[in-house]
Amino acid sequence: MAETIGSIIILAGAFFHFSAGVGLLRMPDTYTRIQAGTKASTLGNILVLAGLGFYHPDWALKLLVVAYFVLLTNPLSSHALSRAAHAIRIPMAPSTVVDALTERNAARAEKSGSS
């Protein structure tokens, strides 16, 4: 019984991973792709780990720690990627409505240029 529940949870996790992959292909620009990859794969990972916990109840605490590591590191890597992408001016999708970061950078450059 526990194994059936575990399998279903792992399958749900796999579905989120698959959706992350589809999101990577379908989203219009780098930044939105990073977003799709980050979120869906985080929940997918946690669900797979939780499902594994049903198979091996004695691993539960270790799996919890692994889940926390995923939660800590996944957003960091997506932040680093998107920040680097913006720093080398990878273009944003045409549907983009506002870019406060470029405005900030422009204002900062102007300030240092005038002083």
Binding site: Y31, T42, L64, N74, P75, H79, M92, T96, V97, L101
Partner: protein, 177 residues
């Protein structure tokens, strides 16, 4: 010597601020990894936890804002609850975008206010934002975060702050300051 410095000197003479919390966390992790409390393993763990916690709390100020009190614990649990709900919401949202026949989004980078002061609180907030519906931290200033928003609904910093960080800000402020 100013009163403030004097006080920090006195605190250093006993245990550095935040030492107990970090020490407990490290020891708990060690016991979980080993899945055993045999005397030899426990001894090595105690030694390592003490050394690492000592170095981190005396050499950096990162941990010094985190104090272990019942209030902190309660707000940490409340934060975890809010976070899990937001994470699931983020994923369902993302599924809706991903499987829509035509992806109709208006992405953009907005600026929001940052009220948290401690470095670790900021890290926690930035990480939480990255995992919540359609937002991703791009850059950080003294008092502002730049967020890539999948579907921009407002460009006003005040409103955007409330919509993106409002749920976490309160609890994280209580835990990390």
């Amino acid at each position: 010597m100013s009163p403030v410095e004097e006080e920090s000197q006195r605190a250093n003479a006993a245990l550095p601020r935040g030492f107990a919390g970090l020490w407990l966390l490290l020891l708990a992790l060690w016991i979980v990894f080993n899945a055993s409390v045999a005397p030899a393993i426990l001894f090595v763990g105690l030694l390592a936890a003490t050394a690492i916690a000592w170095i981190f709390t005396t050499r950096t100020a990162v941990w010094s804002g985190v104090l272990l009190t019942p209030g902190t614990l309660f707000h940490f649990l409340a934060y975890t609850g809010v976070f899990v709900i937001e994470l699931v919401k983020a994923n369902l949202n993302m599924l809706r975008y991903v499987y829509a026949p035509r992806i109709d989004i208006h992405p953009g980078i907005v600026k929001i206010n940052l009220r948290l002061r401690s470095p670790i609180g900021r890290l926690a907030l930035a990480n939480s934002i990255a995992l919540t519906p359609g937002s991703l931290v791009m850059d950080i200033d003294e008092d502002a975060l730049f967020i890539h928003w999948l579907d921009v609904r407002t460009t006003d910093p005040e409103q955007a702050t409330e919509m993106i960080a409002g749920a976490f800000d309160k609890h994280l402020g209580k835990v990390f300051g």
